[in-house]
């Protein structure tokens, strides 16, 4: 992936950071002692708006540039990340309406801004050049903060970034003298940020990553198997995102203002820009507190406007968008061929994920066993805005000591494309209702893989049979009745039916085809058996079973197909 044209710095001289280059906001992160820290820029922003503005030949970026959307919209470039490497006819200029408009130049996208100062005519800035300028500023901030020249970066992109867009991004970064070590997808970076916490336990789980950003929402279902991540399904939405909530708030405030002063602030571009900036600020404030103050001086016709809004009202005006998020997340789970019961974790990232309503809605969609990692529902959640940058920084710290060619070889499809088992592998244990399937290696595990479990032997010891079988799941729906029929079969399905739901859904394991049988003889009372299942790349299976603390054991191999 790091097909840099020029030779990058030596691995020992690299200073690598993690970059999230978003359409609305960007962040930079750095790792100190294996802990990722998000860096604040000169203005003290950790979420740096992806905006460039030119005033009299001076370049502004980030928060300062964003404020120029009110006074200097024509020379302010915003929302340009998604245009990188795209043809003009393929881009959606909606989000640039209140800033410099994208123009066609040689089939690609460019902006006409007065970036030279004086009375000169506007010069044409291709989107790649804009990205280069912006990245240079970002890395400049990181360099100032760290006191060391930043040479390399891992950068995150949405999963649907095309090869051409990635190339354009790498080129833009190289032009800004930054070596791109690797391009990482946003959802995986978010998962990595959580998995890299010291208290995190690496286990097999299925994670939904909801990346709710400013101008787009991307959700992905990621299978995490022994710390290796496979994306099972993705969905992208440009209709329900942060700006649509801003829009809803703007409508609301505009109507209030109109009622009071009978002037429509939406009629005038400058009033509209003020309204937009303040609506966004109010939205952010409502994620933290139950009330927010909306106040703009001279909103329209010289009238000041100040009003408070509470969270309930906000949730009402934004209901349509919130419901859109719900549908999006339900859709992606379905697209992956899974059920909400299969999902172990929901990671919410992106600025919009701060909104408590969204997290609470998701809480309602998924069963109790699913952990929703958002500030509103989990005390240990990491700031959703910083997740991807942290993930990128962690990845950067992992790979910065490798040669660029090593990185390229390791990320080569020959290494990354592997077989994933299509059925879970487990052993038969005895439950209260007869034989039960106990998964050892779950479905969608990338091979080669190795899993070890310890299973209790019968209380009295003796000889035991180890039946290695494939297994699948199905969702059992039972009408809620006073008495529970089935005991919970595993951790995923301890779904209590103490609410008013009419039916109870649970995940039931189904025993599939038998793979092998093995016997361990003469186990002591209260002993345990350790079973290791090792699946190789050619799908051959090695089963090793031995008594814990005992000698010898049984070992056998199933040939692959």
């Amino acid at each position: 992936m790091s097909d840099n044209t020029k030779a990058g710095p030596e691995p020992s001289e690299r200073v690598a950071i993690g970059l999230t280059f978003g359409n609305s906001n960007s962040s930079i992160a750095y790792t100190v002692d294996d802990k990722a820290e998000v860096i604040a820029n000169e203005d003290g922003d950790r979420q740096i708006p992806t905006v460039l503005s030119y005033v009299d030949g001076d370049e502004y970026y980030g928060g300062q540039a964003k404020n120029f959307l009110v006074r200097n919209p024509d020379n302010t470039i915003a929302g340009f990340r998604d245009f990188l490497g795209q043809e003009f006819k393929a881009v959606d200029p909606t989000h640039c309406h209140a800033s410099a408009h994208p123009q066609e130049a040689d089939g690609s996208v460019s902006f006409a801004v007065k970036d030279k100062g004086g009375e000169e005519a506007a010069s044409t800035v291709p989107v790649g050049e804009a990205a280069t300028r912006y990245l240079r500023r970002l890395v400049g901030s990181a360099t100032d903060y760290l006191g060391k020249k930043v040479t390399s970066a891992v950068i995150t992109v949405p999963t649907n970034f095309s090869e051409k867009q990635r190339e354009a991004l790498i080129k833009a970064a190289n032009d800004a003298d930054i070596e791109i070590l690797q391009i990482v997808s946003d959802p995986v970076a978010a998962v990595l940020a959580y998995d890299a916490r010291p208290e995190a336990i690496i286990e097999d789980k299925i994670i939904v990553v909801a990346d709710l950003g400013g101008t787009r929402s991307d959700v992905a279902v990621v299978a995490s198997r022994g710390g290796m991540y496979t994306i099972l399904a993705t969905a992208h939405d440009y209709e329900f995102a942060g700006v649509h909530l801003d829009q809803a708030l703007m409508e609301h405030f505009a109507k209030e203002f109109q009622k009071k002063h009978s002037v429509d602030p939406r009629g005038n571009a400058r009033s509209l820009a003020k309204l937009r900036l303040e609506s966004e600020a109010a939205k952010r404030a409502l994620s933290l507190g139950a009330n927010a103050q909306f106040s703009v001086e001279s909103l329209a016709d010289g009238f000041d406007f100040s009003v408070t809004i509470n969270r309930i009202r906000f949730e009402m005006v934004g209901r349509k968008v919130f419901e859109g998020f719900n549908r999006l997340i339900e859709g992606v789970v379905k697209k992956a061929g899974l059920d909400v019961l299969d999902i172990d974790e929901v990671i919410m990232c992106g600025g919009t994920s701060h909104i408590p309503r969204i997290a609470n809605n998701f809480r309602g969609i998924f069963p109790e066993s699913t952990e929703i990692l958002a500030p509103a529902t989990s005390a240990t959640a990491i700031n959703p805005s910083e997740l991807t940058a942290r993930g990128a920084a962690l990845q950067a710290s992992l790979i910065q000591e490798y040669e660029a060619t090593d990185i390229e070889q390791s990320t080569h499809p020959a290494v990354t494309t592997v077989k994933h088992i299509s059925n879970a592998i487990g052993v038969i244990t005895v439950g209260p209702n007869g034989d039960e399937f106990t998964p050892v290696m779950p479905i969608e595990t990338a091979v080669p893989a190795r899993r070890t479990v310890r299973i209790a032997a019968p209380k009295e010891g003796g000889d035991v049979l180890i039946k290695v079988v494939e297994g699948g799941t199905h969702i059992k729906v039972t009408k809620a009745e006073p008495k529970e029929k089935a005991e919970d079969s595993d951790e995923d399905s301890d779904f209590d039916s103490d609410d008013e739901d009419e039916e109870k859904r649970e995940k039931i394991w189904k025993v599939g085809s038998l793979l092998a049988e093995a016997a361990i003889k003469g186990i002591k009372a209260g002993g345990q058996v350790e079973v290791t299942i090792n699946v190789l790349a050619d799908l051959s299976v090695t089963v090793t079973a031995r008594e814990v603390g005992g000698k010898g054991g049984v070992r056998g191999t199933l040939s692959g197909q």
Binding site: Q182, I231, S410, A518
Partner: protein
């Protein structure tokens, strides 16, 4: 890998009659797998990539990784190699601490000013373990603590940044003597001098210190080097060589005198050091072939400019000359041709005049030949009339017509024929209205 999970549900008991070779019975195969791309991210992927690229199995990889991490730890311990101890050094007395080589005492003479604090601490600990008086006492050598005191003093100096800097300032062991001419003849000029300046560079307040470079250094590099060194900002000081100032309160004057003396001697030494460095630089630059080369190149460039300019001027001059000549030539030619034209036209005119005269003579001759159209001796009046008529006709005709008339008359001798020609001519002129009927009666 994931930690070992524990399952509480018990395994089934072995049914009676179950048997298999080595207690294992392979029954089925795994069902078809799905090809998917794993995301190349995270420590576990790195492990996967390592295994895939080196074709290792899990257990092999675990073993190799374990070995590698174990080796790393060992490397860290082995970083300090102890130096052999000089028996003379072991005899040193603690009271002579000013003259002792602190680095050598601690076994760090290889590192000297580059030794890190950590290295010094470790070296100190090592030496203490070896030379502690209690250990000597165990061997029966009581009161043998001189070298131990030396070690403590050395550590004292080297672990105090200020004292260490003072010691480093006068640590001549770290100096590299400038190469002599003899040595320079044999060895690489640049290598030898760069060692000297590298050693001197330890006194620089600003970093990085530019290196002397090699013979193929660019002019910028060489200039930077000499600029840096001629403006060298040194932290070197000579407090370490101060004479001891008496520490009692008895003789204040003596104390002040000593202090003044020390300050002066420091200043003097500093000045000497600066002069020494300057001389070093002068020596180095005097033999520096690069500077000569650059000067030559600069001269060549300058000369080239001058020569170019001269050539250009010369060429311009020549061009101007050539242009002038060409102009003169053209003018002369034009004049010559005009003259020729004039002459030829003059000649033609004269020829025409002559021809006219001749023709006129022919005309007059013809009437004379025709005996003035009179029978017998013509009278003067007759002659006069005929000649008047001829004159009149001549006057009215242009030279060409006269020539034509002359050609008609030429050769005619018979009077009648001549007369008819004349009368024809007179008639033509009368018809053309050039003559009146009566004007040339004599010829009609």
């Amino acid at each position: 890998m994931a930690s070992v999970a524990t399952v509480m549900l018990p395994l089934p008991a072995l049914p009676s009659g179950w048997s298999a070779e080595k207690d294992f019975k392979a029954v089925g195969h795994l069902s078809e797998a799905v090809q998917r791309s794993i995301e190349p991210v995270g420590p576990h992927f790195l492990a996967h990539a390592r295994r895939a690229r080196h074709k290792r199995t899990f257990s092999e990889d675990d073993r190799i990784q374990a070995q590698e991490s174990a080796k790393n730890v060992e490397d860290g311990d082995e970083s300090d190699v102890s130096e052999p101890e000089d028996p003379m050094m072991l005899q040193s007395e603690a009271k002579d601490w000013k003259s002792q080589d602190h680095y050598k005492i601690l076994g760090l003479s290889k590192y000297r000013h580059k030794a890190t604090e950590d290295q010094i601490k470790k070296a100190h600990r090592k030496k203490v373990l070896k030379h502690h008086p209690d250990k000597k006492a165990a061997q029966g050598r009581v009161d043998d603590d001189q070298f131990f005191k030396c070690i403590q003093k050395a550590t004292d100096v080297l672990l105090d940044p200020i004292k260490r800097r003072q010691y480093d300032s006068v640590d001549e062991e770290a100096d590299v003597e400038p190469p002599t001419k003899k040595v320079l003849q044999k060895g690489d000029y640049y290598k030898l001098w760069s060692k000297v300046f590298k050693a001197e560079g330890r006194f620089s307040k600003t970093h990085p210190v530019p290196s002397f470079g090699s013979s193929d250094a660019t002019k910028e590099q060489v200039d930077e080097f000499y600029n840096f060194w001629y403006n060298f900002d040194s932290w070197r000081s000579f407090e370490y060589l101060d004479e001891d100032v008496p520490d009692d309160n008895e003789n204040r004057d003596q104390k002040r005198h000593m202090e003044r003396k020390n300050t002066n001697s420091r200043k003097k030494k500093k000045a000497e050091d600066n002069a020494r460095l300057r001389k070093l630089l002068d020596d180095a630059s005097a033999g520096d072939e690069r500077i000569k080369r650059f000067r030559q190149e600069a001269n060549a460039a300058k000369n080239k400019k001058r020569l170019d300019k001269e050539a250009a001027e010369k060429k311009a001059l020549e061009d101007a000359q050539a242009k002038k000549e060409a102009e003169a030539n053209a003018a002369a030619e034009a004049e010559a041709s005009a003259k020729a034209n004039r002459e030829s036209s003059k000649k033609a005119k004269e020829a025409a005049k002559n021809a006219l005269k001749k023709n006129k003579r022919v005309l007059k001759g013809s009437v004379k030949d025709a005996n003035y159209f009179a029978a017998g001796e013509p009278t003067a009046a007759q002659i006069d009339a005929v000649l008047n008529g001829v004159d009149a006709i001549q006057a009215k005709n242009d030279p060409d017509e006269i020539a034509a008339l002359a050609s008609k008359l030429n050769g005619l001798t018979v009077a009648d024929e001549i007369k008819s020609v004349w009368s024809g001519e007179a008639k033509r002129l009368v018809d053309a209205g050039k003559l009146k009927d009566g004007d040339v009666k004599a010829l009609a």
